[in-house]
Structure formats: C-alpha cells, structure tokens
C-alpha cells in the first residue's frame, strides 16, 4: 500500500498509510483465488465473508462489498487500519504460502473509505424490542456490542467516562495510524443505528450498576478495557519527564497536545527520548515523540524477533528514524537536582529458555549496567484492566489480575444480566479480539433479553 514519504511523516501527524486507489484495489482483489474453503475467514475474529467482499471489489461493485463487510463488522475503517491482519486473515491466505498474501486489511479499509467518501449506506435495524441495554465504555468492545444490539432492535445507551467516545481508538492510537475523523465517522455510524452515547459518566462512581437496573436497563455490557498504566517499579520512576504510555498518548491524542498551544494541554518531549517496551503502544509512543522533535530510542529487553509490535509498525518506526536498543532493560532512572530525569540506567540481557508465552526469557547479565541519556521517558510495558465500573460490586467476580470473570460461552459475569467482553476480560489485547468478544456477548445478551433465560 502506498505510504506518505518519510520527510512528510516525521513533521506531521498525518496518516502514514495512504490506502489503495480504485484501480489498485481492483488489481489486488483480482489476485484472490476465491478458495472454496477460505482459510482467511477462519482467521478473522468476526468471521467476515472475505472472499465474497473481495469478489465484489474485483468487479468494481464497492457498495455490495462494503455491505458484505458490514454484515459482520461495524467498524471496518478501523479494523482495516489497526487489525494485525498478518497473523489473522492475511496470515492464513493461501497465496501467502508461495508468494504475497492478499492484502485483506487494505481492501477492507478501501471499501470503508469508499463508503465514507460516497455517503453512508443505511443499515437495516430490526423493529424495537422494548428492551434497554446499558453499555459501559465506548472503545472497540463497547461500540461493537452497542451496534450489534441496536441492529437487533434494542434500545442501547453507551456510558463513557472520558469527554469523547472511542476509548483507546481516541486516546491511545495516534492520528498518523488511526485518524480521529474516521473514528468519529464510525461512531456516527453506530449512533445512526439509534445508539445513544453519554460522555463524562463513570459507571461505578456516578451511576452504580444497581442504579442502571433501577433506571430501567434490562442488561449491562461492560467493555471498559485495559486502560490502567503499568510502571516498572524501579527507583526514580516519579522523576519529571517520565510518562506512562497512557499519559503520553492521552495528552497527544485525546487532548491534542501536538497542537499546543492552540490546544491547552502541553506535553514535554526533550532532546533524547527513551521508550521502554516493544509492543504497538511503544511504537505509537516512539513515533509520536519523534514527530514532536525527539531523538528516540526504544529500549526492549528481548530482540527484534520477540517484539510483540506489528512488523509493519516496527518498519515504519525504523524508516522514520526511531533507534532500537535490544536486550536491555532499565534498572533505575537518574535525575538532576530539580527532579528531572537525565538518564536511564540499564542492564544488558541475554535470552534463556522459552517462557509460558513461547518466547525466550530475558535474563539480566550481572555487572553489565550502562547509562542511556534521556530527558524524556515513556514507559510502555503494557496496560492493566480497568474494573472501576464494578469496584465494590460483590456480585461480580474478578480474577487476581483484575479482569472480570465471565462464562466463556455467553460472556455473562457472575451477576445475572451483566455481561463483559474485550480487554476487561482478557487483559490487554487487540481491537479486533475485543470486537469479536463483543459480538458474541451481544448475541448472548440478545438471547437473554428475548426470553431464553429466566427473565
């Protein structure tokens, strides 16, 4: 897929991947073998009929193509951009065995963007059922659950704690990878199905679960995600200039600090930036810091091979000039007399035997400490689930990791009528896995509401 030039990228937050032209999309679609037993569909967490929508594209029938995608996926412009296709649909493409797999994500994005340009195609909504559902959180899981339930005729209200809906799509993933106009358009699509969105409402604080039921909601879906930061827990971590990835990205994406002082929220990016971690969030933080003028080094405790970030994002980061320091991990942060970070003391690592994730375990090499100069540090070592909605609700069981316990079939929590899905159940994962869970939960909620249960 065509990309913005590196020179243009490093000075702006414009979207990097440019998307196919009609011609390119048709040419790519024509390469599809239209397998009788499509392995790509098995790889898709929401089971989009991939060969069918690709066939429509190859024939230039884009409207039918987007309709086909939307049958299974309410947020295609988002998934086409941020799904890890290389390990899902595209990773299973038969054409990939001997050559280049079909770029399914780019095709999905193409039809979604085509729809945005040419005007939204109206989705059929079932007649009202008279049932009310509260959805907690407006990220990928919440939006998907809401859309699915609204299509089935339920009266859905989403409650969002922040001032803007979209969850991680809005506060976490940067503009250059996930333009906010597109997120807003997808949210508007969900609203067009009749879904109401109430921002600035923290369920669990402003309105409790019990109160939701008292307000007349018949079921609740919790999709509050993994929005709590993880820190390293090493000395000096509270020095000024050290951010959690969440804080850094919230300031930049949600609060638009990259447009300070037009927007009031500042962010401080110094001359030398160290980003700790090797996932997509670390790549987002590193590439954001680079665009704000920093000389950026990613510090990761294993090697490039074990990095959990998408290959594509690692390549983008490298092209843009992000440096990588592998097999090293911080042991403490060193500050100046004013409390500002000046350096990261790291220890070298070597790889041992594979751990439970199948990746080789990093082991510190004693006495190998060294310093990396840095006046800004972003700690991007993962997020924790955010169970604020159910804090103090004894009826809802949590795991020792703070995730919500659900029935794996129905996504129902230990409280009748309360369902949960996405990162709040699995711990931090991907946009599409949250959407896949939300779809299944929505189906179970529908069955619950329509009298399958004892209600």
């Amino acid at each position: 897929m065509p990309k913005l030039s590196v020179e243009e990228r490093i000075h702006s937050f414009k979207e990097v991947a440019l998307g196919y032209t009609e011609k390119q999309a048709i040419a790519e679609a024509k390469r599809c073998l239209q397998c009788k037993v499509p392995r790509c569909v098995e790889g898709c967490p929401v089971n989009i009929d991939i060969p069918a929508f690709i066939k429509f594209i190859s024939e230039g029938r884009f409207e039918e193509a987007i309709k086909k995608v939307r049958e299974k996926n309410s947020l295609p412009a988002i998934c086409g951009r941020v799904c890890p296709q290389e390990t899902q649909c595209m990773g299973r493409c038969v054409r990939g065995i001997k050559g280049t797999p079909i770029n399914i994500g780019a095709l999905e994005r193409f039809v979604a963007d085509w729809e945005r340009r040419t005007g939204r195609i109206k989705t059929e909504v079932a007649p009202p059922t008279g049932r009310k559902v509260a959805v907690v959180g407006s990220g990928p899981a919440g939006l998907t659950a809401a859309a699915e339930l609204a299509k089935l005729g339920h009266d859905v209200t989403i409650f969002e704690a922040l001032h803007k809906p979209g969850g991680v799509l809005m506060y976490g993933i940067p503009e250059f990878r996930m333009p906010k106009d597109i997120v807003i358009d997808e949210i508007n699509y969900v609203k067009s199905l009749g879904v109401k969105i109430e921002t600035d409402i923290i369920i669990g604080k402003v309105i409790t679960l019990n109160e939701l039921f008292e307000m007349g909601f018949d079921a609740v879906f919790i999709g509050t995600g993994a929005g709590l930061p993880r820190f390293l827990g090493i000395p000096g971590e509270n020095l000024c200039g050290i951010y959690s990835a969440n804080e850094f990205l919230i300031r930049i994406n949600l609060m638009k600090a990259y447009r300070f002082p037009e927007y009031d929220t500042p962010v401080k990016v110094g001359k030398r930036v160290a980003v700790i971690g090797g996932g997509n969030v670390a790549m987002d933080a590193a590439r954001s810091a680079l665009r704000l003028g920093g000389d950026v080094t990613v510090i990761y405790r294993r090697t490039e091979l074990e990095m959990p970030a998408r290959r594509e994002e690692i390549e983008n980061a490298k092209e843009e000039g992000v440096k990588f320091l592998f097999l090293a991990t911080p042991v403490r942060f060193i500050g100046d007399d004013k409390g500002w970070v000046r350096a990261v003391e790291c220890v070298r690592m070597r790889l041992g035997e594979p751990d439970e994730t199948g990746r080789r375990r990093p082991i510190p090499i004693e006495g190998s400490e060294f310093k990396v100069e840095a006046d800004t540090v972003v700690v991007a070592i993962g997020q924790r689930p955010n169970p604020i909605a159910v804090r103090g609700e004894k009826s809802i069981k949590l795991t020792s990791h703070g995730t919500i316990v659900v029935n794996p079939e129905t996504y129902e929590t230990t409280r009748r009528g309360v369902f949960a899905g996405g990162d709040i159940v699995t711990g931090n994962a991907t946009v599409i896995s949250a959407m896949g869970a939300a779809k299944k939960a929505a189906k179970a909620i529908h069955e619950y509401l329509m009298g399958g249960g004892d209600n």
Partner: protein, 281 residues
Amino acid sequence: MLGRFQVLEKETLAPGIKRMVISAPLIAEKAKVGQFVILRVDEYGERFPLTLVEWDEEKGTITVIFQEVGVSTKKLGSLKVGDKIRDIVGPLGNPSEIRYYGDVAVVGGGVGTALVYPQAKALKEAGNRVTTILGARTAELLLLERELAEISDELYISTDDGTKGFKGFTSDVLKMLLEEGRRFDYVFAVGPAPMLRAVAEVTRPYKIKTVASLNPIMVDGTGMCGACRVTVGGEVKFACVDGPEFDAHQVDFRELMNRLHAYIDKEEEALKHLEKTEGRC
C-alpha cells in the same frame, strides 16, 4: 437526560479568586466531602481538577472556588452566568474520613482557605471541637472567613505580610498552639504543597494524625494516566483514585513540588497564546 454544566452563579471572592455554582445534578447527588471534579472548559481545554466546596442535591448544583492562575482557570473565570462548561466529570477521588476524632485542627492556605470549609463543617457536624487556621499572602485573599468563623470553635488567621492576624504562615500558628500546650487528635490541611509540608513537619514530633489533601497535576482523573502519582510511605499512589487525601507524614513533598513545576514554561506559553487569541473570538 443528564444535567449539563451551566454556570448558575458567579462571584468574585477576592482578586483573581472566583466562586461558581454550576448545574450538575448527577454529581450533586453523589458528592461527598473531600471529592473533586475534573473540568474541561471548552473544546481546546485541558482537563483539570477542582475540589468540591459545596453541593446541593435538591437543586442539582455544585460549587467550586478557584484561583485564576493558568489558562484553564482563567478560561473558567471568564465564563458568564448562563454559559456552559463543556465537560465536568465526578465526583472523583475518595471521600474524606469524617468521624469523631475529638479536638481537631483544620488548616487552609491560599485558595485552600475555601477548601477547608466543607471539612470544617463536616468535622463539626461529627461532634468534633474544630479549630480553624486560615492563611493567605495578604488580607484580601482570605476566603470564607465569616462562614468558617460561624462553624469553628476557634479561628486563627495568618497573613504573610501581616495585613491581618498573625504575621507568618499557618504552620507557625499551629506550631505556636502546640508549643503552648494545645493537643489535637487530628489535623487536616489543604493548600499549597510547601504549606502542607510545613504543617506535616510541625505535627510530626507530636505524632498527631495529619491528613493532607494533595493537588498534583492530573489529566484524566480516573486512574488511567498516572500523571498524579505521588510517593506515600515509599509506595507509589495515584492521587486521583487512591487519594486525594494522604497521611501527610508519609508524603514525599519534595517530589510532589518538583512534579507540580514540570510544566511551568508551558503554562506561560499557553497564557501568552490565550492573551493573543482572546480578542479574536
């Protein structure tokens, strides 16, 4: 369905210090002493915290008192009665531990002289004997003096320049009382971080339970970002969800003060930008 943050009353209490009554029924219904809200004045605005001073469940209103120091408080202060605040979320943070302690002192400095009001009132209602110590830079910046006099068993005033009451700091007054032999069972302090630290140092030798309401920089205010992290007793806490009140003897105030200064240069830049653009819209 949900009340939408209209400014109902606005009053200037002292130069640069304003009191606002805002329509926010859901917040008013849930608010407890010690909690705060996060506001965003307009589409370009920051999210910033303000402690709740009063709330009225029946009227569906909340009251905040703030000093216009940065862009956000200046923008808030420029709103007129009838204007709407873009976003308010809350109540956030844990409520204060209000109970019978016995003889208590509440200490408020700067705009904190307004924020001790709900504490003093609630502690009095819980049966405590309440001694209030208020401090400001100068006499005209003292807030809610009359209201606090009404509910306090004793009221002491200090000003940095000696224009009213004792010349010096609130911590000096507290120290003097303790040296005179007064004993408190509980001390609550709210105000600038250096004042909180001074109060903590005064009560430390007497082993008096001392709680400080902290005011670190916050962004989301719901535990997501960690901007407000403070070290308390060697552990990292988030003021927004673990606080905002902590055992003052355990707080690393030096770190807090460093972190409060992290954006000083940016704040000046933002203010300049605000002055430049104010005439335009």
